[in-house]
């Protein structure tokens, strides 16, 4: 009769709802997209030292709207780990900078989305890009180049972050509108 009891237990195991499965599938699809963009960006010729368009962050913004802050935060972290494993930079300085920037951007973006009234994805992306750049500099100064003159380099790069953050916000808005099916 033991096998019957086991069968009964198996039968009453809770099954995830279709909605949960749909969200998990969306999360995985967005993660794959984010990792792909992360890897493509790493292989592109650099726009200049420290400067990247941050296209993978567009996916974090989309996840923020579609899946909520918790899953979007998990996606940002998972993207950095998976991307670093593929590129071969896991636990190198590049990885530490990437992770610190992604975490800072994620925290600032979610706080802005929750707390600032009337902010859109464009403003959220702008603040995320600025936080990403700032925290990368703080990390470099704290862990690698212990030299405060490094901060002289920051203003032009923050200006470039404003531009990339704004453009990524426009892109994220466009994609989320299309996904919601009410574009135009």
């Amino acid at each position: 009769m033991l096998w019957q009891n086991e069968l009964m237990q198996t039968a009453v195991l809770p099954h995830p709802s279709l909605e949960t499965l749909r969200r998990q599938a969306q999360w995985m699809a967005l993660l794959m997209l984010a990792v792909t963009l992360h890897v493509i960006e790493a292989s592109l010729p650099s726009l200049g030292p420290w400067l990247k368009p941050g296209l993978a962050n567009v996916v974090t913004l989309i996840a923020l709207v579609m899946l909520g802050p918790g899953r979007a935060f998990g996606l940002a972290v998972a993207r950095v780990f998976a991307g670093a494993m593929i590129i071969g930079t896991l636990f190198t300085p590049t990885f530490v900078l990437s992770l610190s920037g992604a975490l800072a951007a994620a925290v600032v973006m979610f706080a802005a989305w929750r707390l600032i009234p009337d902010i859109s994805l464009i403003g959220v992306s702008l603040l995320g890009a600025l936080a990403h750049m700032l925290v990368q500099f703080v990390t470099v100064e704290a862990l690698f180049i212990r030299q405060s003159t490094l901060y002289y380099l920051l203003p032009p790069l923050l200006l470039a972050s404003c531009a990339t953050g704004w453009l990524n916000g426009i892109l994220a808005t466009y994609v989320t509108e299309r996904l919601k099916g009410n574009h135009g």
């Binding site: 909520g68 030299q147 380099l153 203003p155």
Partner: protein, 136 residues
């Protein structure tokens, strides 16, 4: 959450976004102004650091018909830095991505080349700092 929000302009964003952009640009302009002042006045000098240790300091505009080759020992190995009449640049570096080498020549006050993996920083600053200039 997102659905409750008003639809912003597709590329100008909401008024809040624009206000944030203006505040950010104003803050950046102010810090840029401070950074330029901190880059110093007087004769432009090339300074090479490993972390906070000053390894070498040379005038940027010297007679460098024969380029000056400097070797900075960092965490990964030795970076070769060259100073010639066009400015300063990384000739070689043991770092994996060679971003420092790709940065090319630097010749303006406030310019900087950073090699994060090898912990080497090359900066061009005035030999009199901003406070000295104010005192003059």
């Amino acid at each position: 959450m997102g659905a409750m929000r008003r639809k912003p302009h597709w590329y100008l964003g909401s008024w809040t976004d624009r206000l944030l952009l203006v505040l950010a640009i104003a803050g950046i302009a102010y810090t840029w102004h401070i950074a330029l002042a901190m880059a110093g006045h007087g004769r432009a000098m090339v300074e090479i650091y490993r972390d906070h240790v000053l390894l070498a300091k040379y005038p940027l505009h010297g007679n460098y018909e024969t380029p000056l080759h400097m070797h900075a020992k960092g965490t990964l190995g030795t970076s070769e830095i060259v100073l010639d009449n066009r400015g300063v640049y990384f000739e070689s570096s043991p770092c994996p991505n060679h971003q420092c080498v790709l940065a090319g020549h630097k010749h303006r006050r406030g310019d900087m080349i950073v090699c994060v993996p090898n912990h080497i920083l090359v900066t061009i600053r005035g030999d009199a700092n901003a406070l000295d200039a104010v005192a003059e």
